[in-house]
């Protein structure tokens, strides 16, 4: 499933954006904004690099992907459907009673989900555990984690950041989806984080900044991550919340609000045009 071309990855991301809008519209709930900001990176990671087996999701030696910003689950589910872990029909179960697509990604419910997220600040620590396990076993598998920028306001993230460098976890790879918006407002209004790259560098991480919607840059960054083997590394991806749907872009209102009928029509029209 790996080895998709840039144009294939872009098309995959476009289809996922359509699904994100449809999923949140169908249940009139969920988090479209952060799903749309993360989706290019998720598509690139799964389509270009992640060692996994959609027909054997529990394969013990797979790379792990931990979506710590678990509310952005529509993006994850859309990618899992594109990769064949789940069906496109399964996407209709998002937030529906008994459905495998729980409100926040859940490893007990959905094949291909490696961690049950929902409370922010937890996924990086879990990723450390996965990375340490791989090291003890002498496996070359990696643990990839994605957090949001607002999420790094959680103190436990920095416990994990410090421990990852201390243990020289070169098999731990982090993406920060820096869309600049959190639940209540813009991050800069809620809690300014100042110089994010310097913070990670000072914690002993190898750092790279990219445009998180430029597929070439994302692929280059994932390839760069492969070259960092002695210390943990982080790609700080500058993204736009709601990317791809004009009225959602950079709009705090669409952190946790679904499009209505009219808005869905417009969103689908825009995403069709961007084909």
């Amino acid at each position: 499933m790996n080895g998709k071309s840039i144009s294939e990855l872009k098309e995959m991301a476009r289809k996922c954006r359509v699904e994100i809008c449809k999923m949140t519209h169908r249940i009139q709930a969920g988090h479209p904004g952060g799903s749309l900001s993360e989706i290019d990176i998720l598509c690139a990671l799964y389509g270009h690099r992640l060692r996994c087996k959609p027909d054997d999701p529990d394969w013990i030696d797979r790379d792990r992907f931990i979506l710590s910003k678990g509310h952005a689950s529509p993006g994850m589910y859309a990618v899992l459907a594109e990769m064949g872990f789940i069906s496109h029909e399964d996407l209709k179960s998002y937030r529906v009673k008994g459905g495998i697509c729980q409100g926040h990604v859940d490893m007990k419910w959905c094949p291909g989900v490696d961690f049950s997220a929902g409370s922010l600040g937890m996924g990086l620590s879990f990723g450390l555990g996965c990375a340490i396990a791989a090291k003890i076993e002498g496996s070359s598998r990696n643990a990839y984690v994605m957090v949001g920028d607002g999420e790094i306001q959680e103190g436990s993230v920095w416990e994990a950041a410090m421990a990852a460098a201390h243990h020289e976890l070169g098999n731990l790879k982090l993406f920060i989806d820096c869309n600049g918006i959190q639940n209540d407002d813009f991050c800069d209004a809620q809690m300014r984080m100042f110089d994010i790259p310097s913070k990670w560098e000072s914690f002993g991480w190898s750092v790279k900044e990219i445009d998180g919607h430029d597929m070439e840059q994302i692929i280059d960054a994932i390839d760069w991550m492969d070259t960092i083997t002695e210390v943990p590394c982080v790609v700080i991806a500058h993204t736009v919340k709601g990317k791809g749907v004009s009225f959602m872009e950079n709009n705090p209102a669409f952190h946790g609000a679904a499009p209505n009928d009219e808005q869905l029509s417009q969103a689908l029209q825009e995403l069709e045009v961007s084909l």
């Binding site: 450390l128 555990g129 396990a133 003890i136 416990e159 994990a160 421990a163």
Partner: protein, 312 residues
Amino acid sequence: MTRMAATRDGYGEALVELGNNPKVVVLEADLGKSTKSLHYRKKYPERTVSCGIGEQNMLLIGAGLASSGFIPFASTFAIFTERAFEQMRNGIARTNLPVHLCGSHGGTHTGTDGSSAQSIEDLAIYRTLPNVVVMHPCDDVSTKELTMQLPELGQPSYMRTARNKTPVLYDGRAGDIKIGKGIVLREGNDAAIIACGVLVHESLKAAEELRNMGINVTVVDMHTIKPLDTELIGKLADECGAIVTAEDHSVIGGLGGAVSEYIVSANPIPVEKIGVDDRFGESAEADEMLEMMGLKSSNIVDSVQKAISRKS
């Protein structure tokens, strides 16, 4: 003369023996000397992970390891486990990953460190979590044996251990210890005392004092608070008609809470609870703390008499 030992030593010994299993990993948060995981670190440094003073991170590292097929044992002071409660809930209990958490130095018995260190709510909070087994053994032999059984459990657990030495009850009797099964230490039909941890010893003293008063009681070491041995409690309710629970823990939500919840729904007989009466402790020697909190054998004697007087 009765051998004296601390439950934390039983934990430390068990970890070293469990090290034969290459899947066992030990996680520390700068208190390995105190919880006694340091012995494991010396023997298996490659499978010991220092998490620094960061309990939230430690628990989720454990979850990640468990999801990869390892059997992590994490320990720190009981009180410090509590700041990672949400990690325990959402990362470990909800996912049912077999991470084994040990909180040492629990209860007011931890003494002169004062109220900040005296966890008196740990058993209550962990008992509320689905999938989590909760234990509070009373001697080093039972602590070791219960710990040895954890790799086969396949679900998460919390165990409270203690720093101070207490009498050893189970030398040569490790085979009697089973997770989820209370142990009857003496029998009598006037009332039953159900205790855990250091209060097991006070309960045995109380039973002796009661015998001199012509009152015969059963004493149970209920080292596992969850799952609760309701079969045994139901039998005791039928045979004795009155129960006193005893624990170095808040009267709210711990062993007393668990037993009361069961009794109320199954066979409403009088239950009296010995525990910390919804207050915080302070700095004092361990025995002084038990006195101050009303956790001594004399308090148990009074409660047994009260429970018996309430029988209809």
